[in-house]
Amino acid sequence: MSLSAGPLLAPGRETLPPSSGSAAGERRALRTTRAIVWYLPAVAVFVGAIVGWELIVGALNLQRFVFPKPSAILAALQANWAEGRFALLPSALATLQEALIGLAIGTVAGLVVAFASARWVTARGILLPLAVAANAVPIIAFAPLLNNWFGLLNPLSKALMAAVLVFFPVMANVTRGLVQVEPASLELMRSYAASEWTVLRKVRIPNALPYFFTAMKVATTLSLIGAIVGEYFGGSATVLGRMIVQSASALKFDVTWAAILLGAATGIVFYLVVVAIERLVIPWHAAMRVDA
């Protein structure tokens, strides 16, 4: 049963290398083989850890509310999948929705500030120190306030928690990508008497794309963290954060673990989607190049 966690990563990975054209099925088979060999150790360790967990919990006869077996967690996941007091799937979808809205808001805000501060030195002078200072604040502490401002039951209060967390890495990375352009590239554009707008479109934005995707990979995780933490402080009951809090206070720790597992799986899928988009958009980037 614990094996079902194994293929979670492997098939996801296989879809990732850009399937260049439709030629050479032989080469594709080789690549698949290589991918399997590459991921085998990681999968083996993962499966081993799950099996070990199962066996040790059984052998030590730990109370199931202290440390449930993986098999118990999966059973809880199955029993509480779609309905009942702890309906996990609708909760996960609601949390994902908050995280997505927050990701969108935080990303747009981060991009706006990044472009403004890359374009105008004054904007950079004002915005960057403020953003850095704000980032040093433990932003999570604002969650109860956001709930208060936007309404406990309003998903927007959770989405904004996510947005605040997403904002900084997007803003900082994209600013760097827009500003840290090779001086020679700028001189080249200068020799063409290119306008600042042309330089932005043809040099700065393409240059910033890898930075943007790096930020997005961090931001997906942060958006889920923001949404779940926001939920801890109250609101709609069918969200992952509430499931975790309530099942834990009802001592149904197998359900708590199941909710955490679902949250983790959501995060991983979210991340892999960003990686897939990255490979489509910037196949030319050094980190993306697949050796022939």
Partner: protein
Amino acid sequence: MTAGSGPPSPTPAAAPVVRVAGVDKTFRRGDRVVTKALEAIDLDIARGEFVSLIGPSGCGKSTLLRIVGDLTAPTSGEVTVNGKTAEKARRDRDYGMVFQAPVLFDWRTVEDNVKLPLEVLGWDGARRTARAREMLELVELGEFLRHHPYQLSGGMQQRVAIARALTFEPSILLMDEPFGALDEMTRERMNGEVLRIWEQTGTTILFVTHSIPEAVFLSTRVAVMSARPGRITKIIDVDLPRPRTEQTRELRRYFELVTAVREALRAGGGDLDDSGTVGGAASAQRTIAEGGVG
């Protein structure tokens, strides 16, 4: 300073393409003069000429090229290009630039890299494609249209950069140690290519190098510079026959000219590959970087 260089410049007496008059360049930090990079530079370049600037590290040869190309401003003195200020000439796209690094964009294919200046100039798509392909044929990279720069060797990348610089037919090509990063054999082959392209296109070239054989082989005239402060100490006419081929490198006159350039460099007090810091070029680069951001 007679332009006695022969066939490629049919009207040596005509108004020069480039006129540099009394140019000084000092780099300052606050009120303190850090480097006196150039002093009292005079140089005229006629249409169709191939002029090399040679000198020890830190003699300001790159700085001089960058002043001609309006990438940095002189502290005093004047630069006139096609009868205009350097800035006006740059705005009129009179310059094609080739740097030591090829400066190609990884996100563009070879063809799209060559099209870049034409996009900036607002050419329509079909004309851009035709022109880019023509230029890539000229540098013999017609088969590599769809490649990305990182898939090419250093020499091939530099040929792409040359094709890109030539696409919009600039009246002067500024080349700043374009082959400095290449091995000797590739460099000699590239020298042949540049001469061929120069003869085919009839463009005027200002070329910075620290290789004596390269300067002599390529140029109609070699301007020898000395360091601290950077000055042009001697201008040597290169009266080698054309077209120049691999046999040119065997001629007695070729060796005499190589010796003449070397002696001029010694007389100027600079051995080549003097390991002094190149304060000029480096800090000028920084200035541009900061200016470009704001």
